[in-house]
């Protein structure tokens, strides 16, 4: 019932949108935690977390399926353990 435009490719605007989404719903922070010290990007880590929660393919990359999920209308409460 909800119409979402098909996403053909990820744009620079999408990357900014995705970062805001991850900050809001998956607690993406600027802090450098243990994983980022090991060279794992915090964005990649949070993208993987989001993809796992939504049953998407876990790539850690901002693909079209992931950005399409992010653009769906939703509740404003954060997801996963972050909500606690």
């Amino acid at each position: 019932a909800v119409y979402c435009e098909p996403v053909s490719e990820v744009t620079v605007q999408d990357e900014g949108f995705a970062e805001s989404y991850l900050k809001k719903f998956f607690n993406l922070t600027e802090e450098r935690g243990p994983s980022s010290r090991r060279g794992i990007s915090p964005v990649k880590k949070k993208l993987s977390e989001m993809q796992r929660f939504y049953g998407l393919q876990i790539t850690g990359a901002l693909d079209t399926d992931t950005i399409a999920m992010m653009k769906k209308p939703r509740c404003g409460v954060p997801d996963g353990n972050i909500a606690r």
């Binding site: 769906k72 939703r74 509740c75 404003g76 909500a83």
Partner: protein
């Protein structure tokens, strides 16, 4: 299903709610009906009972607002975030806020069905967090469902009963 934590639930089984204001998208009676039915969804499977109050502070304060609306979690305009609610606690805890930049409807899919959005938010008001089951009411993403035939999915029943137990006539 997932909860905010076993200690984040109401100790009282009898809770109050108050509708502070209304969306212009629907008639007053449609809003009242949608809110009442959304709370009934949870009351049907638990010992929880809800009473409407018209003045003072209720356990669940319900309001419509747009952008910054007084809780440090501003809404984002049309689409995106539709509403949010707070886990059981004194003060703002339990309260549910709806983004009035959205178009809410009684049962039409020409907007977001208020009953569906409210039933989800009241799950938060009672202590449930988001489920990763795409069929669950507590899945974070909005899905249209016919309010006249809606039945609370098993995942949500299990979640709320893990906090409050089963329906009781006593």
């Amino acid at each position: 299903f997932s909860t905010f934590g076993s200690n984040l639930k109401w100790e009282e089984k009898s809770l109050t709610y108050r509708i502070e204001n209304y969306t212009p998208d629907m008639s007053t009676s449609e809003v009242n009906d949608s809110i009442e039915k959304a709370l009934e969804v949870w009351a049907k499977v638990t010992p929880l009972r809800f009473t409407r109050v018209y003045t003072g502070t209720a356990d669940i304060m319900i309001s419509f607002g747009r952008q910054s609306h007084g809780d440090y979690y501003p809404f984002d305009g049309r689409d995106g975030t539709l509403a949010h609610a707070f886990a059981p606690a004194p003060g703002i805890g339990g309260d549910a806020h709806f983004d009035d930049d959205e178009t809410f409807t009684f049962r039409s899919n020409a907007g977001y069905v208020l009953f569906m959005v409210a039933a989800h938010e009241f799950g938060h008001s009672l202590g449930l967090s988001h489920s990763d089951d795409p069929g669950a009411l507590m899945y974070p993403v909005y899905t249209y469902r016919n309010p006249d035939t809606f039945v609370l999915p098993r995942d949500d029943v299990n979640g709320i009963q893990s906090l409050y137990g089963y329906y009781s006539t006593v």
